[in-house]
């Protein structure tokens, strides 16, 4: 894993490239070659490009910012302007093999609806998100008495787009509520090293700074 830990300074710009690469590489590894993929919140199209190069996927993207969409279109990617809250309902059932939501779940207005839509549009969904149960986050709140500002969550309480933060345990619970299976899950510590799969949930939830889950739709949709 080529990963350089960034300094944990609060003033750091959001989502430096080298850090965002970590979950993208893991996501790319989870996708089967030649699959049809919808990347929700695809940014500048880095993941879609990676998937096209490495896995030969037929990729589509949804991105809110005009700048991001323009960059994607200029790269030859098929990307539409929209967001996870308002536009996923437009997609037909089973239109894709995988629907990906990378570092965006916590910024959606209705995360549960977004997840349900993802599992409707694709049989499989891949979600990466920052873990609010990470010990540094907990420590800032418990010992500092302040809303946490960390490398993964580098906004202040008043200007954050992250309105629906969750912990790994919370996420596992909502996956269960949605009747989906966790096919694979990876949590990373601050150094970017994956936590061993056999570790119990509380270990993941405490030491994972971020997590990536591959979900499969359950037989019975709720």
């Amino acid at each position: 894993m080529n990963y350089t830990p960034a300094a944990d300074a609060p003033q750091r710009p959001a989502q430096p490239l080298e850090q965002s690469r970590l979950d993208l590489a893991v996501i790319a590894e989870m996708v089967a070659p030649g699959a049809r993929v919808l990347d929700v919140g695809c940014g500048d199209g880095a993941l879609l490009q990676l998937l096209a190069q490495k896995k030969g996927v037929d990729g589509r993207g949804v991105e809110l910012s005009q700048r991001g969409v323009n960059e994607c279109v200029a790269k030859g990617l098929s990307v539409i302007q929209g967001d996870a809250d308002t536009d996923l309902s437009d997609y037909p059932d089973d239109g894709f093999d995988y629907v990906i939501l990378s570092q965006t779940l916590q910024a959606t207005r209705r995360p549960r609806a977004a997840l349900a839509n993802m599992l409707r549009i694709g049989r499989r969904a891949i979600i990466s998100f920052p873990n609010f149960g990470y010990w540094r986050v907990r420590a800032q709140l418990v010992f500092g008495g302040r809303m946490p500002v960390t490398g993964r969550l580098d906004y202040h309480w008043h200007d954050t787009p992250n309105i629906h933060l969750c912990t790994i345990r919370d996420f596992v619970e909502i996956v269960d509520e949605l009747g989906a299976h966790i096919e694979r899950g990876v949590a990373f510590d601050r150094a970017g090293a994956p936590i061993r799969f056999s570790a119990p949930w509380w270990v993941w939830n405490l030491f994972g700074e971020q997590a990536v889950f591959l979900l499969e739709r359950g037989d019975q949709r709720r």
Binding site: N70, A74, G76, L77, I80, Q81, Y91, P92, G95
Partner: protein, 393 residues
Amino acid sequence: MSVLSEARPACSEGFAPKTVVFQPDRPLLTDGGGRIAPLAIAYETRGTLNAARSNAILLCHALTGDQYAAGVNPVTGKPGWWEAMVGPGKPFDTDRYFLICSNVVGGCMGTTGPASINPTTGKPYGVDFPVVTIRDMVRAQAMLIDHLGIETLFCVAGGSMGGMQVLQWAASYPERVFSAMPIATAAKHSAQNIAFHEVGRQAVMADPDWRSGRYQEQGVRPEKGLAVARMSAHITYLSEAALQRKFGRKLQDRSAPTFSFDADFQVENYLRYQGLAFVERFDANSYLFVTRACDYFDLAADYGGSLAMAFKDTKTRFCVVSFTSDWLYPTSDSRAIVHALNAGGASVSFVEIESDKGHDAFLLHEPMFIATTRGFLDSAANARGLAPDGTSK
């Protein structure tokens, strides 16, 4: 092609576009059950068609546009309607692509329309011209593309009514359209848009000089009615913000209101000018026919009410563009197109461009729109195997 002959249209001096005439053995049979023959199609081309005939782009003009997308329009003496987008080094790069633009059927710039001579009477068609649809316009364009010996168009692009033609092309001839750019358009004309068109038509028909559509034979023109139609339509092409920024409540060449019905306000003066300039170049009956064609456009209706079925299994690459302040063809109309394309599994990009210039934004110099178009065409050209000089790789 023995059925074809080249001819000059009956137009003013210095106006020498290319025109192809399809003789009566190749009539255009219209959706409304009409038959147009002979059919003249006036068109312009720019750039060079490569040896593989794979770099042709069809540009579809809007309601009152014409075949002069770029360069100087010989009728008005003004730059072509898409000067911002068409030319060497511009997104529709004449150094790379072969650009074709034809006047629509029902138009008045050399293609057969209501001002043309009806062969059965020897007089101008007037309102006896068959009511044409967007699909009829596209059928006529397909005849031209056949005539030019082009099997597959690299791209079909256009805004507003031109965008409707793009959608119709993609639906009617999916295998002939490699990529498509429907811009500031809709898959069906809204009630509000039909309403505005009806106001315009009623203004034309209320002019005593319209003479039940037979004004040509009587040597008059319904200029006042057509000017009013244009004035009301022109408002719909702008936005409140653009009007406010440009005119506000500023007075025209005076320091105080005159307490009369003179054009005291700059915005009044501007609209009157737009109306007058328009009647010089446009035929009133043509205006009735082209607005009607838009009104009848409802692409989904031809596919059992499902727009997605119109684009089912299409291989065409789409780039849909809307503008934030366009209230004539709002972003929701473009989203409906995108929705249908997604449902049909099409390759589609969609951008809503930030602009306060209203519907007209697609004709103006909008840097983000230009960048989007360039990016989309570049990537499509790569996929099509077009070298930067337009040759086939």
